[in-house]
Symmetry: C2
Subunit: 135 residues, 2 copies
DNA sequence: CTGTATCCAGTCAGATACTG
DNA sequence: CAGTATCTGACTGGATACAG
């Protein structure tokens, strides 16, 4: 993690850390799947069709380091590793889902705002993945 | 944002969009300052000591595009531009603060988990104070 | 199966210079 | 004052190869 160039309070950096983790490309997806039940590495990888091994590993490691998931290794042949949300991880899911619900409820308002902005600025270019709800 | 390799619902992409915006390095800081009152460009820049002009501009533009802030230009000499949160922006502040409160409340638990993880993995570059009492 | 190591292309953020 | 343009180093994420 990069050091901040400016003075930050510990509350501020705590907030920023959580926000950055949650805003991460794969974190929420991983945590959401794990919110239902514990899963194995490749099971997770197949579920999140599109994540690379590297990214899944590093996402899982970060989550483990911050105490959001546990990693349980069964030294069998072939090896088996289970990932599961901790209490802290399940706890985190609450405010994250709050934000998620907000996003779903306000999706329309945001895409309308974007359509308005783009029209006003003559930019007809559409960002993939989020412009389909515009109307 | 890149096109998704996997099937996504529009709800999923809406959530991801909001999460990515909020997880952005400067967004929350800017929105927080604007949560108190409207501010001018350089005022904001001085307040967030460390942000570059470029990043402030692009953060503000994204926020404006998504309908979270308004940009008001007074064609005076010297020019003056006020930024202010919209209703949508103030609305967004609610779940974001929920997550922020969570981060502050659970800061200790997260840093304890990190200390534990780093200790277990031989990375001794952690802050002294509350060492692991477990085991 | 579950990773680690390496390489590489694309993107991001900061510094700097310039404009209205 | 409030930006825009450009260059560049740093970081990110993906693909591939390899190891326990």
């Amino acid at each position: 993690m990069k050091p901040d160039h400016f003075e930050v309070t510990s509350a501020c950096s705590a907030v920023h850390h959580i926000l950055a983790r949650v805003g991460d490309k794969w974190t929420v997806l991983v945590v959401s799947y794990l919110g239902n039940r514990s899963m194995r590495f490749n099971e997770l990888k197949r579920a999140i069709n599109g994540i690379s091994q590297k990214m899944l590993t590093s996402t899982l490691r970060s989550l483990e380091r911050d105490g959001f998931v546990t990693r349980t290794v069964y030294p069998t042949i072939p090896p088996r590793v289970d990932y599961e949300l901790t209490d802290l991880g399940r706890d985190l899911l609450v405010p994250v889902r709050g934000l998620g619900d907000w996003a779903i409820k306000n999706e329309q308002r945001v895409s309308e705002a974007r359509a308005r902005f783009d029209a006003a600025h003559g930019n007809a270019e559409v960002q993939p993945g989020f412009a389909d709800a515009a109307e």
